[in-house]
Amino acid sequence: MIDKRVADPEAAVGGVVEGATVMIGGFGEAGSPIELIHALIDHGASGLTVVNNNTGSGEVGLAALIRAGRVAKMICSYPRSANSTVFPELYRSGRIELELVPQGTLAERIRAGGAGIPGFYTPTAVGTELVEGHEVREFDGRDHVLEHALTADLALIKARRADWHGNLVYNRTARNFSPLMAMAATTTVVQVAEVVATGGIDPEVVITPGIFVDRVVHVASPAHESDLVARGVTYP
């Protein structure tokens, strides 16, 4: 019988190694798996390469992971935030590496990684400094640049509901990168507010099929990043 449920966030992130590449779902706070990120901080793995659209806010969640010195490199499209100084301070002092990727290229690189496609050509960013050194090839009279797929050792994502097989349904715009990351990681861990028995989700509405999910952890009342930041919470 397939049952991917694990006891708690601590068990869910077990086995992460030093220097791992970790994809973390979320666009801003929407879809950010805060409880899993905090478990990753507690776990202690460092030298991580983290893939996320942003760099977190305040001193909780992703920003707390970066502040704890666990992240060697960020791969993202928009590392600025109105209410966090964690990433900018480390970046300006040369203590964290940044690979800046256009948002659609970032999404497609992750999708390609999950789909077994090693690279693709896109016109996005042609002629800009972000693709200096990339191979350029002309298709139908237009220049395109070569982009390489992204894969990861671990993906940490958040969804609204899962069954024991790991079939997932998301909440509104919290879906963002998570279905792609689930496909692109060797081990995908999801935190969900609700777990139902297998068969409890209509197959027509499944967004992420369970084949892409390895561990399901129930977090009944997940924190919202903006709420923690407003209350001045820091982690740990």
Partner: protein
């Protein structure tokens, strides 16, 4: 810096209302964060425009009433929004397939500089700032029409419509039309062309505040 008194241009609201007049009924549109977002408030009655926000929503509505928001229903600027009847949610690969696959009719973005060949610089001022690009490069390379909404000059009076961009580029030869506080300017095969002027502003005033040759194409438009 002392500023010489120049022509009085439109307010941001007036610019937004002017740009809204040119959006066709039934269009799928992405409005950039900041001033372009304001266009949504001025879509004329009877015109249906579907707003796309690249974080994963088609059919975006206005901000929720106080207390009705969901921190997981946000726009690309990470502000809480609503979903209108007929809306849909999707993941980033689908969202950027809409952009990169040429399915969106129009995007409207802000600018630091626009060059006479349609080059756009709007993501980085270089120097010490933290570089951040988001979806701007995808939008300008994939959406069918790319409009820019910006003040004609910087706060210091320096023209933003230039011969060659000095800031890092967002895209090469991508801008079709520019809405400024002083004029509506097309980017044509021979460079900038004024197609409409703000009331009380003259073509010569616009030309003097544009750092590249600019044609008066208003008569051509009237004859059409």
């Amino acid at each position: 810096m002392t500023q010489t008194p120049g022509p009085v241009g439109m307010s941001r609201e007036q610019m937004s209302a002017r740009a809204a007049l040119d959006i066709a009924d039934g269009s799928y549109v992405n409005l950039g964060i900041g001033i372009p977002e304001m266009i949504a408030q001025f879509i004329p009655e009877g015109i249906e425009v579907i707003l796309h926000t690249e974080n994963g929503l088609l059919g975006m509505g206005p901000s929720p009433a106080d207390g009705d928001g969901d921190p997981e229903l946000i726009n690309a600027g990470k502000r809480q929004v609503t979903a209108l009847p007929g809306a849909s949610y999707f993941h980033h690969a689908d969202s950027f397939a809409m952009i990169r696959g040429g399915h969106l009719d129009l995007c409207v973005l802000g600018a630091l500089e626009v060059a006479a060949n349609g080059d756009l610089a709007n993501w980085s001022t270089g120097g010490d700032s933290i570089p951040a690009v988001g979806g701007a490069m995808d939008l300008v390379s994939g959406v069918k029409a790319v409009y820019v909404m910006t003040s004609h000059c910087t706060r210091d009076g320096i023209p933003k419509l230039v011969e060659t961009c000095s800031y890092p580029l967002t895209g090469v030869g991508v801008v079709n039309r520019i809405y400024t506080d002083l004029a509506v300017v097309e980017v044509g095969p021979d460079g900038f062309e004024v197609v409409d002027l703000t009331e009380g502003v003259t073509f010569d005033e616009v030309a003097a505040l544009t750092a590249s040759p600019i044609q008066d194409a208003r008569s051509a438009r009237v004859e059409r």
